[in-house]
Amino acid sequence: MYDKLWLIPFFPLLGCIINGLLGKRFIKNEKIIGAIGTGAVFLSFLVSCKYFFQLLGDSVKSHENIVASWISVGNLQVDWGFLLDPLSALMLMVVCGVGSLIHLYSIGYMHGEEGYYRYFSYLNLFVFSMLMLVLGNNALVMFVGWEGVGLCSYLLIGYYFEKQSAGDAAKKAFVMNRIGDFGFLLGLFTIYWTLGSKHGVWTINFTEITANAHLLSGDMILGTSVTTVATLCFFLGATGKSAQLPLFTWLPDAMEGPTPVSALIHAATMVTAGVYMIGRMNVLFVMSPTTMAVVAMVGALTAIFAATIGFAQNDIKRVLAYSTVSQLGFMFVAMGVGAFTAGIFHLMTHAFFKACLFLGSGSVIHAMHHALHKAHLDDDAQDMRNMGGLRKKMPITWATFGISCLAISGLPFFSGFFSKDEILWWAFASTRGNMFIWVIVVIAAFMTAFYMFRCLFMTFYGEQKTNPKAKDHVHESPWVITLPLVVLAGLATVGGLIGIPHVIDVAHIGNKLNAFLAPVFQHSQELYKIEAHGTASTEIMLMVFSVIVALAGITLAYVMYRKNPELPGKFTAKFPTLHRTVFNKWYVDEIYDALFVNPTKKLGIFCWKGFDVKVIDGIVNGVAKLVGVIADTLRHTQTGFFQNYALTMVLGTVVMMAIFILN
């Protein structure tokens, strides 16, 4: 029944291998390469659909498919196994669905690029890794995917590797991810060892960990409970992968990669891996209120912190990048207050509208780039100050981008509204939430609405500020680019309807998502009495309040960037220090440079010039010199006259005879 799960990651891997090995020499044709890449992911999508609907109609909600044994050492038994339950099924749909749309989009966007085959090969490899991450039935298979997506992220950020900044950004992403990965591994070891040595359950299988997690309550390590330590380690992994404080700085830099990559990896899927991982291990996380509080706090702070930076950025992709960081913060707030369903819900809707936003920005950049290229201008194609008034020129892009902005701002009946409101409600009313987090998140929501509409207004409205020479070359993008935009905008609009909150469910559709994900989350939520309690009127009031907040943000943006375009300038002039600080991203990068990067570099230089050159090389060269000196001395004994050798031989014989006689 579920024994063909392995097909889902298999197709992208096959596509990756075909394109990667044969693309450069044998296939060459862009159309075929694109078709292979997109087709592979689309096939996975079809298989995912089959299993998704099969799971919907099935009464058993958790199925494993073991393909082969991987590691079998002593107590450690690891299989190449896949797990299909509502959580992974939903993720499959998001990853494969959004993934295939973005592959389709890439065909148009990457047209004519150097290394077309390489791009599709990496992208397929990424989808493969992401599917391994999502489907893995044990933590090690998940870790394979976890590392795989990190690697693909590195490869794709550095896609334009001839650019110094792209190479640096790729390295930064990789290193930051590594910091997280080590947390993930430590967490895994802690759980594995404690479960095994104290309770005799040697396992890293998710199902078994979930079933045996209750054994861990009461176990202590270094005066703290084991679950707290382990989950904090896991959360460190999540902050690395999902760009939370303090490891978020790599994500904005990751925008050096091609825009579809930003959409797929750095907005829709990979960065949500941390959220997914917490969802997957929710049983462990609920056991530690400390970790939950940390998760919620970090999420909330990230949400507001990244939002402030989004205010002052002029690069369209950077605004979206900070918005992604901020939205990921929302998801972690949800996870932290125990609203797992809401977190996954927001993950899904965010995948839709953020992918749409990124692809829309990609469409704009694509058009701008071509226009500037045609006019032989060197202006920045991503700078919003060069845009404006693109509404008429690129209507489809404008419409889809606008819809996504409405969705992300949380206007009623768009998908973002439902997911964000559920997070806000849980932050306010959950037994694990509190007022403080709610306030921060609301402010962040307000800021989100503001900077997203600032972005929309600067790009599509007002005077076109593009260089006059390039102005008329800006055109709407081809269908392969607009089709994914339209589909994603559609999803961003209606995607929220699967999770309508009970209080406004006038048509009695029911909260489909809640019911669907219940097998994964309900058990732990009930066990630890995590629930949102409050009256329906409170919930409706909060909803209205958040809509008002969103509208206020939009209005403010309208006033500042449409009505009085000189207002931002005045504001900047009035608070130059504040503006500069925000514009420079609170100098976080500089602080990290000063605190970690430069000392590490200095240590490296010391090791190189001080230790390696002087000590190691000194020893090596010294030995060589010593041998040289000895050899130079001994060389004189080698006269080249055979009688000298004969003399030595005779003397040697004499000595040996003497020894023989004296004995």
């Binding site: 060389r635 006269t639 080249g640 006259f641 055979f642 009688q643 004969a646 003399l647």
Partner: protein, 100 residues
Amino acid sequence: MISVYHYMTVSAILFAMGTYGVLTRRNAIVIFMCIELMLNSVNLTFIALSSHLQSMDGQVFVMFVMVVAAAEAAVGLALMISFYRNRESIDVDDMNLLKL
């Protein structure tokens, strides 16, 4: 009465003289002759001991030493001729290709 020690002493003297000649002379042919002298001193020891111990083995060994000496003489002298052809000399000081 002549004992085996008498013969061996003579043999030792001849051997030491041969060694001295090998080490000091510059003419390759003379060195070669000194080697023959050393070989003969050893032969004398062999035969003296063979006679002393009433065994034929030592004398058989002397036969083989003579065979080897004959072979050595043939090859060695051929080498000298060929060397002389190249260097117009059979002085061992001229055999210095091993020198740095």
